[in-house]
Every structure is written in structure tokens, then in C-alpha cells.
Amino acid sequence: MREDLTTINKSTTNKISLKSLLSQSANTNDLKKLRLQTRNKIRAIFTAKIAKAIKIYTELRKRSSAKELVLVDSILRLDTTPNDGFIPELFPSDFQCGENYHRVDTISYLKQAEIIELLLEKYSEKLDKFLNLLGALNFNIVQSNYKDADTDIEGIYQISGYSHFLLRKACYLRELAPSNIALESSDRIIDEAHDNGRIIPSSLVQCYQEQQDFLSMKKSIMNIADRGKSNKFTRDISRLTFHPFARDKHDFNELIQSNLQSSLIDAIIILKVNNRHFNLSSEKYPRLVNLFGRLQAQSPSLDQIIYPYFSLNYENIEWMFYKHSSAWLENDELIAYREVQDHLFDDPNSAYFTLTETIISNAKSWFEDVSLEKLADDSPLTKSPSSNLQKITTSGYITRSSAFNFILHTTEGMTTVSESSLFKIMGKTRDLARTVNVEYLTKLSVNSNSKLAQIVCYLLIARKTRNEADNHQLRRLIQNITIEKFDGNLVMFVKGLSEKSFEVAEYAYDVCTEDFIAKLYHIISSATEITETRAELHQWMGEVSNNKNYIDRARNLLIDHQINKTRNELDDNRIFVDVARFSEWLNDEVVRDLNVVLSSIDRTAESSDIVDPQLMQIIQKSYERFCSDNIFGMASYLGRRIRHGTFKGHLYSSVVSSLESEYGAFLRDPVIEPIWDHWKTLYATIIYEIIRERLHVNSLSKPKGLLNPTINASKPKTEIVVRCAQNLLKDFNEHRNNQNSVQLLTEYCWRLAEVDLRNINSYLKGQKATLIQNELLSNIKNHNHDIDGDYAKDFIRDLNHLINDKLLAMYSWFKKPVSISPKASLSLLYKAVVAEVKDTFENFDADTNFEDSDDIELVGGAYHVLYDAFYVVVYNAAKHGKPNGNVLRNFRVEYDERQNSKVVRITISSEIRDNDSEQEINSRLSISPTDDIENAQLSEDRSGIRKLHHLERTDNYFSVERITCENRKVIVVLTYALEISI
């Protein structure tokens, strides 16, 4: 129970005392109608403290009749002075968006329906007016008379106060009406709702927007952490947009109570929506059932509701209609539509519904006589008389997806579908991987003779389950067909799929992440092939979708590959995060709150260095999970691949065994042996200490853990958090949705993690001297024994080298994997370019040595631009420059006033040939207005400079500052604007 209520019942301005209450004759009469015992209890409620009052009231609710309760509530509702906050207003003048009332124990839906039946009588006049205005509002909405509809919304508010029902209408109106039409009342209602609460209004507003993913939002809302009574209202009211159907009687009891807490109007609507399952009879509830009919009479037909959508520019009408449909929950046909979709276009394992016989029977009556084969063509899907619903469901994805799930459910998967039909269905459905019954789909797959059909089924199954066997089966099927028909080439396989269905191929592309490709052991035989294959897939996707981002990603991967070759080092990366699962967790646990926070932050905060505290908390929560989750987080890799993996074997056992095998006799020397044993004991102790205390995520139980899951632990981290917040806000304001938020959060979590990973490596570097234990070793060296002194020196030297090598090898364990998040060292980028140019000009050489400490690392996906720029400049120097002449480069980060940001400034100079004139070269380097910059990348001859300018045009961050020939050198100065300096 909340004891600190400060916003209770603002509408109740006439606070009156018990004495004055009883002095009013109407109330005295009400009181008199009650039994003496009940009257006494009401008196007790007035005088008792809140906990006691609630206890008495709960008992009254349990034992009193509906009629008595209506009287009790009406008396208690008048006086909030002593025990304010457990009898909600029926027609509140404030929007109910939070836990504003003490929640009492629920009573049966039947008793609540009786209470509402009595209230309908009491407030019949008000409800008549409400219905009349609702009819006018609905008419004006479907006629697109938005201004008039807005006036009606104000009218309804004046008559019946706030309700979630009215908020849905207001949000719907705002979404449909052109943004230049002022809707004062609707906007005011939406704003006030936002002022009064967070999750309830923001989830509704965002659900109605085009880009928001309905199923993700639904999952997130339906899985709001159950904090019992303290958030029951929020959980119940926010779900109205996504799943207004009660799972069972108990759920219905609670749902009515929450809706009655919101308003009487909401309680009526939720009763109507669920009456399909609970059958309130007109004999027992005549007014209520009559009102259901009158609500229907005030609602336009589905044809009329859908009609305006045909002139709106929605990419998929049914998708938007479904997302908006909670605005029409007074309509019987709409409720029937929602019943089908809400239960069949959702995860059948969801805890909040079961596919009961009633639901399936209702769905059967609603669907046409559908079969999987029929789903592949454009046959009508529903028996609904609405021709517009027929139209949008035939061309839409939702009903077809539900029908697919309905057929699987009713046949338990014991049905068949041809390969071609299955491919067609996949092009006309969506989110099946989230809504399908895995058991039944597995049966469908087994029944299929087509390997490709089986692959399609398993593409869905493997994505839905986490079962390794399902994933393995999918990979086995893909590998078999790729080897048999596509020469073992995965990209050819995906291209082959695209000839049958682009949607299936696109889905396969999504599934074929680096992680997945790496597990195709029969066709991917090396780590290099993982990168190359993924790059080729990006390239293909970029070409077929005409989306440059994919091409850039492919280019980045190939450059990474080139850099790896240039480095020619062993890359034994051991720290990972399972990004797919982390994203899933973010979607389930973070995105909902992120939506709320981002939509409430002022736009000016985009450039502020002060992070909103709630946004900070979300970033903190994300990073903590990124580090600490023992299944997908860094902690799991730290534990399984390092701490419980090879750390001790690598640093202790292999060092000791190697030395003992090489210097066995020396170490068995009676004087040396005890010193060596002592050294080993201390060495093991140090290593154990590192394993036991340091190689952990920092926590109360592991205070020395090197991986610090807090975001404000250091200045570099704080700076990253500021950038993260700014980018999240910028992206949200630009797109008005959070589609990119998960990707952004993941990227910034990696950047934060890099700070910690650097700390781990610094710590390990710092342990070198401790591990070597020079003092003890000097005892060996200084000891006067019979063995040659050089032998002791060799031993100590080898021991030093061994430990040093082991530590060096371990540095690569604690790095951010390049494949997960693009990052490149500028010096390595340059070195890789020089190596590539040398493939063409064997005699060309340029100094590429660099110090790690002077290096600049570029994080993010744009370094391919610099690679391409380097290539142009270095290639030209190799081709046209002075043979064996100097090619020098300089990289530095500086503040650029013109661009108002930090930039990396790159200067590359190369000597010109002795017989070239500076004037002639300058004329070749200059660009005239008639030069074809746009097609520079297409031509080969003398196009280098144009290519640089083309890069400048295509990337706003890249700038060609200067290209001149002076003092017998070509000097190229380029800048790249940085988001953050590293």
C-alpha cells in the first residue's frame, strides 16, 4: 500500500467532514438505507487509520451486496479527508495514469458487473449524453472532420470526464489528422495524460505511430514486472492498447477493478470487450447489455472505420489499422477482429492468454474456410461482411499470419503445404518467428518433402527457440543444400532463395550473422571465411535493396580483413557478448522505459553535456546487464572462456612445464630446487589471486573485479555516456521512434566496455614484474653453485620471455571483437592501404611504422571512407610520384572551428618526379566545375582526385581541405569530423 500519496483525487475539491456529510439529507438517506452494522463500519472507516480503513472496507466489499456497495462507495467517495485514496471517481476530471489509489482486494466480475449495472441506472442521464456525443465524435472521425471531432472530444470530457477510452480517441485523432490541423482538446488531453503518468500514455501514443513495432511493445507492456498491487493499475490499463482480453475469471476481476479505477466508461468498455468470453446475460444485467448494444449503434461500421485509411499514406494499411484498433473497442466487429489477432498473432506460450475452445471456435467462425494452400493466394481470409476489411486483410500481413497460426493450431501441424505456397505465404505474413507454435511447425516441416520448405520452417523455429538442436537442424539443412546445389557457397544459396522469394532470402540474410555463419562448419572452414561470407551477404543485400548502408558494412568488414592480414597476428579474442540475446533483453526490459524517457526530454538536450538522470539510469541498467549477465554478458565469457578456461593453464602450467622440461637438471639442483619451488608457489598464488579476485565483474562480493559495470567510474566513460544519451535523443527526435535505440545502446555498451578492457590489459601489464619475482630469481642467479652461471642467466631470460609472451598473447583475449562493432586504427588503416598498393606497384614503399601510443582509433562504421581516401592518395603517389621518393603522413586530432567539432586531420605528402613541373601537376590536381564528380567512382583513368571529391559529397564528415603541389611535393590534407576524440 502506498502511504505517501500526494496526487490523490485532485478533483475532489469539496472535502467535507463526517459531520457535515451526515448533515446532508441525501447522504443521510443513503446511510439510512444501509444496515446498522454497515453504517457502523462506514463510521469506522472515517475514523480509522488508512490500513485499518482499507481492511474494514475490504471486508465490506466481500460481505455486502452490490446494492449496498454502490451506496457505501457513493458515501465514501464524497469524503476523502480521512482516508483519501481508495474509492476512485467514476467520472474523474483528472486523467488516471498512475497508482493514485490504494488498491483493495478484488471481488468477482459478476458482483462488479452488478455494481456497474446499478451505476448505469444512477447515471443514466449522463451516459445518454455521453453516447450521443460519442456517436457524433465517431461520425466526425470517419468523415475526417477532425476539427469537429476535436470539439466532440472536449464535449465528452465535459460530460463524463477523463477515461482511457477518451485518450485512445484523442491519440487516434491526432495520428490520423494532418499535423497542421490544430486539435486543442485532443492535444491538451494527451499532454495532461503525459503530465499525470508515464507508461500508460507513452505506450499508447507510440503504439499508434507507424514505425513502432507492435509485438515488441506488446511483449514489453504485458511483461511489466509484477509488483503486486503497487503497479496493478498501470499493468492493466497500459495493456488495453495491446491485449484487452482477460485470460480467466481472476484476470477479469482485476481488469474490471482497474478499469473502474480509471473511469466508469472504461469499466463499461472492458466488460463489453470481454463479454464474448463471460456472457453476461440480459436477464441479469439488462442495462449493461442494452448499453453494449447502444455503444454499437453509436459506432460506425468497420467499412466506415477503415475507409479513411485508403487515402492515408501508410505502407501497410492492415498493420496500421490493427495498431490503431484499440480506439474502437466499443465496436462489436472490431472486438471480433481483435479477439482473433490478439490471440493468434502473438506468442502462443505467452502467460497472459490461452487458446481456449471459445477463442478457437470464435476464430473459426470469423475466418473463411482457410487452408495453407489458400493462404498463398489472394482468397478472402474472413467471413466479415465488411468489404473494406476483406480488402485490407487480403493485402495485409496480420490476418494472414493469424490464419497461418490458426491452421497450425487446429491441425496440430498435421497438414501439408507445397514449397511454392510456403514461399508465397512467407512473403505475405510477418513475425511468424515470434507467433508460431514450434511444436506444430516442426510437425509441418517433418511432413514436407521439400528441403527448402523444411529450411523455411526451421528458419522460423530456430529463431523462436533457443534450443541448440533446432539451430543445428537448420544449419544441417542449409549446409546440405548449399553443398549439393550451390557448390558450398552460402551467398549463392541466399541468392537462390531470393529467386523464389525475396522475403525468405531477406530472412535468411538476417539469420546469417557472423555467429551463425561460424557454425556452418561444413562450408566455412576458416575464421577468414566468416568475415568474407558476411561481407558478401551485406554486399548482396546492399545491391538488391539499393541501400548504401549494407555496402558500407561490407566494405568495413573487408577492410578489417585487410587490416588483420597486415597485422598478421594471432587474434584470440575471448571476450564477447551474445548481441542477439542482449538485444532481446533490451527490447523486453529497457525499450519501454526508454520510450517514456526519450519522449519526455526536451529536444534541446540533444546537445547538452548533462544527461537526464532517468536516461542515465537506463544506460546504467543496460551496461550493467551487458557486463554481468551470466548467459549472454561479458561475465559469461570471462567465466567460461578465461577464468574457468585457460587462464591458469596458459599463464602457470605451460610456463612452469616448459621451463622444467628445458631446465630440468638445473632446477633439480638441491640448492636451486627449494627456491624454484618457492617461486612456483608464489607464482601460483599471484595467478590465483588474479583469477579469484580480479577477473570478475566488479560487485560487492568481488570488489577488486576489473570489469566495472558502472558508467560513471571514470572520465572516459562519462564522456561516452554523454555521447550515448545525445545520440539516443537525436535519433529519437529525428525518427520519432526508437527503432535504432537497441543498436545504439549496444554500440555504446561496447565503447564503455572497451574502457574496462583496457584497464584489464593495463592491470595485466602491471602484474608482469610481480609475476616474475625478480628478487627470488636473483637468489638463483647469485647463488654460487656448480652449474655454469650462464645457465642461470639463460633460465631467467627464458622465464622473462615466457611470461612476457604469455601476457602479450593474453592482451588479445580482452579486446572488443572487431566483427561485432567496427573500429580501426588510423595507422593500421594506412598500413593496410600501403600493403594493398604494393600488390600493384611492387617497388613502391612508404614508411608505415607507428607507435601505439600515438595512434588514433576510429570507432564506428565510417572508416571505409578514409580507407578509400588513403587508397586514392597512396595509389597516386605510387603511380605518379618519384620512384623511391618519400611518402610521409601525419595524423592528428584537433578542434576545427569551421566544423565546430573535433576532426582528425590527415596530411599525406609525396615527392614528385624530377622531370615533372609543379605547375603542370597543380593543373592536374585541380577540379573544374565541369568535372564529373558524381560518376568518379565509375571511371578508372585520372579519376583519383574526383574520387576524393566524390567521397566528400557522399559523407558530410569527410572534407578535402587541400590538394596542392608545392616544394616538389604533392600535399593532400583531409579531415574527418569526429563525434568523440579517442
Partner: protein
Amino acid sequence: MKILLVEDDDFKSNSLSDFINELLKIKVLDIAPSVVEAIKHITHQEYDLILVDMAIPSHPITPGGGAPMSFLTGGLEILLELKSLGRRDPCIIVTQYPEIELSGQLYPLSKAKNMIKETLDCDVLACIAYSEDTGEWKNELEAALEEL
């Protein structure tokens, strides 16, 4: 007796090989430090015993070849591959981590054998916790080998 050892940690690999050699007087025939190498081996021949580590890299690490993927449940791939080949080569999981992840859940080694059967329909003789500091694993391995 043909034995395959799937293990990326040199020291643990040597330790297991030495123990097998000592106990059974046989040398481990093949050692696979990555999943792809293990799968190549089992594709080419049957084994009388396969000792499987859990957390192993996907591919061999080669200079300039980039990083292979680090698979925390890479050992399960061997079991699943054997199942898809219709083979029943006896497998023993020898891991340094006290739990095994199956379908997104962590199970203690004491329950892992049954859970592997339940969730993946794969058979293993035993799931043994390896530790350099104790010889307990040797007893467990010896007991498991007696079932062969």
C-alpha cells in the same frame, strides 16, 4: 582404441592425454582445438571415445586470419553432429566450468547429462568438472570409462 580429444587449452589437453595414456596405456589419436577441426575428425572416422570441452573457439586461430568465434557451448556441436550422423561414439564432457548452458539455461554438471538427453536428445557418458588443483576429475573419468 581411437580417442578424440576436443580441447583448446594446451595444458588441459596434455593433462588429459597423459592421464588417458597412464590409465588405458593408449595415446590419444587426435586432438581438435576448435569445433571445425573436431567436426572434420568425426566426419572422417568413428571414435571409441571422445572427450569434449564445452567452451571452445569455432575455428583454428591463424596469424592474420582474424578472430574465430568464441563458443561457450561449442562442445554441444560435437554431440549434435554425431547425432545427425546417426553415430553413437561415446562422449564424455570434461569442462572447467561448473555449469553447462542448454537452451539459454545454466545447469550444474550433476544435472547436465540428463538435461542434454532431455533437451537435445544426445547421450553422454558423464559430465566431469576438470580442475588442475584436484585429482577428483581423474576418479570421475576413470569411473566413466569403466562404463565403456
